[in-house]
Symmetry: C2
Subunit: 427 residues, 2 copies
């Protein structure tokens, strides 16, 4: 029995209880969400995983993607990044390495964290073919299935799988064209393979077989977003939405027929006025599956500060119902993120997730306590309530005011202090 | 004749022509906007000011506030901050110093920049009284008028003036209470003075006299937001909206009767789902005056990264029609910003302004060019199109890929490169 089948049968299992406890909700709410495909809890038969619920009614979760590229391969560094991301508050990791001994690195990362770890098996399939036969176009169906099984056994327990790039989608892509091309590695690999070989995507044509593998290894299917826009002017184009439709059909089948847990991935580069619509469209198409957004980045022109660009998009998407945010680091579009980038990316996405949850879930208790702590000039309490206590403490301490109640911003003329001394407004 | 009177008389003057040129609009559009009170262009009879239009139909502008406090007084540093803010792209400065020789510092800052410089004259009035008579409650009406005149003559050409805090507002404040108190220094000073002296705010009761001073010295009135919430749970409360109503009445009178240019200030701490409403309410109340938002900060719990919190709020407010953003730096709520904070604050606000303008004005040409430059892997072009070319270049160069077309993120398996080599999608 999969967790979805348990939930449909009315069984409340351990992962549901743990997530209910963490979220402050009834286990029955979690069970119903899983049964309906609106909530997932990644688990694994191969390692102990910290249970983390993703979906409707739950707090917004943050994923940190790491992984070496052909340019930079350093196992120790990847493990450090994994641990740093977890310490910074990431709820899941994706190990997207394509360089060096990427199986060994992935295994080491899975061993080093208690978080759920995601992967993209088609990278491995294509790279295996490229190494073996000289080009990604020689990838075989078996390369895909082997990579999927192999990665599941390493303990990666959710997988981005590009089920939605089929010939119908490529017709839309070719007819419409693109300003920015394709920015998804999976999308680029698979599109190239399909066009060169004049074949349908095996992840689509043999979707049932894929589901059987995922079911056997308890892997959460995250339907990949290979057609996401990599440029604002391609946002919400016909190729992207066609892929969403196909992914949504696959997602429904995986959940209804195979009892799989399913997440649907979304864009990408999206202007601010299209973020809400993208969230609502995805929820409607997919039957309210958990929505995993890669960004969204609301402008193309801020490389170096794309974590901030993403915070704008992600706070908005989360406030409208997005469940799961893939972080973006300051190195996006420029380089492989280093450890500082990973930490900054996670911490920035956590802000966006909270801002979204303030709206989506009305979760504002910590803000209320902070407002009161500020009114009372209770600095210890302010630090403890901060999303990043260490950073807040550092900034204040390095530039301490002569007046220990105030800060150097206003010094003697602290508005809060003046009001507190003059009259009582406190609520 | 004031610029408003010129505009009403159908005269297109030099500042209107300059702003029209910069914005790529017809001078007649600017003239109508000024006549209607929907656009302002701060000018000064005391120094040469770079003309910058603020208001409906124009790009969103960014203000950087600087100024020493009683703890930190360093003229050279303030001048460096002013120059750094201008270099980083600030459209205006506010000099809010309350420490040391704040008149001398303000003069030096005005001399060091071509940007319009704003101030808050009541700080000076209250601090003069405190130094002279031992407490801010001894401030006299003349202290206010003298400070206003004196600061205008230094070349500060827009002023935040707390006209809207009257007895009607204080009744609302007292009846309703506050979780976070009052965070505005001007609001705290004036409220304390009014309650202690049991007197009406002279800036309200003698508003006509104030207008005459501002008119004489060509100062843009920016109606202060002393009742803005300093905590999410006080957002959009009755005191804030009552002040907005009074400020809007004052703004109309200043424009209609005295031919003054007027900006209306707004909050503050505002949850993301109340930002749009605050912008629309302000525009409706004030007859579509230019709206100057202080933030908004969409959560209380991220001290140390409040520039990012503000980017989320400001991008949203600008997209819904906010015209003028006051930056927030990483030091907000913790310390007086240092020069790095000032630069980061400006650059972050510029991102928010652009994201807003993409929606509000459909301004996306630079994004289009960036999308194409990325597709073409034209790195020089990408750097030149970036909001911060230096930062983008630095990140890529420090971690250069072996493949000069790609970057270290994907290395050999660059999605864009794979697609470009395989087929032609280019638009």
């Amino acid at each position: 029995m999969t967790i979805v089948e348990d939930a449909k049968a009315g069984q409340i299992t351990e992962p549901m209880k743990v997530v209910a406890e963490v979220e402050g909700l009834e286990p029955e709410f979690i069970r119903r969400g899983i049964a309906a495909g609106r909530i997932v809890i990644p688990t694994s038969p191969y390692r102990d995983v910290k249970y983390c619920g993703i979906g409707e009614g739950l707090t917004t979760k943050v994923n940190a993607s790491i992984g070496a590229s052909s340019d930079i391969v350093d196992i120790d560094m990847e493990i450090k990044k994994a641990k740093a991301a977890e310490a910074a508050g990431a709820d899941t990791l994706m190990e997207l390495g394509t360089g060096g001994d990427f199986l060994g690195i992935r295994k080491a990362v899975c061993d080093a964290t208690s978080l759920s770890v995601g992967s993209v098996p088609l990278y491995q399939a294509f790279i295996t073919a490229a190494k073996r036969d000289g080009s990604i176009i020689h990838m075989t169906e078996d390369d895909l299935w082997n990579a999927t099984e192999e990665q599941a056994k390493l303990g990666t327990n959710f997988m981005a799988i590009h089920t939605g790039i089929n010939n119908i989608v490529l017709d839309r892509l070719k007819a419409h064209g693109r300003y920015g091309g394709i920015c998804s590695r999976g999308g680029a690999f698979m599109t190239t393979w399909m066009l060169h070989n004049e074949k349908e995507n095996p992840l689509y044509s043999d979707f049932d077989y894929l589901c059987e593998i995922l079911k056997e290894h308890e892997v959460v299917l995250s339907t990949g977003n290979g057609m996401r826009a990599g440029a604002i002017h391609d946002a919400t184009d016909r190729a992207q939405i066609q892929e969403l439709i196909i992914n949504s059909e696959c997602a429904q089948k995986a959940h209804d027929k195979y009892g799989l847990q399913v997440i649907v991935e979304g864009p990408g580069h999206v202007p601010l006025d299209e973020v809400e619509m993208n969230v609502k469209l995805m929820k409607s198409m997919s039957g309210h599956k958990p929505f995993y957004m890669l960004g969204p980045l609301v402008t193309d022109i801020s490389p170096g500060r794309d974590h901030i660009v993403t915070a704008i998009g992600a706070a908005t998407s989360a406030s409208h119902g997005c469940d799961f945010l893939c972080y973006v680091t300051p190195a996006e579009h420029l380089a492989l993120p280093n450890i500082e980038d990973v930490i900054e990316g996670v911490k920035t996405s956590k802000i966006a997730a909270h801002v979204g949850d303030m709206v989506k879930l009305g979760k504002r208790d910590q803000d209320l306590a902070m407002g009161r702590a500020r009114r009372d000039l209770n600095w210890e309490k302010m630090f403890n309530l901060a999303l990043d206590p260490e950073l807040a403490r550092k900034i204040r301490t390095e530039r301490a005011s002569a007046d220990e109640d105030a800060c150097t911003m206003c010094g003697d003329f602290c508005a809060v202090k003046i009001v507190n001394q003059s009259f009582d407004l406190a609520k």
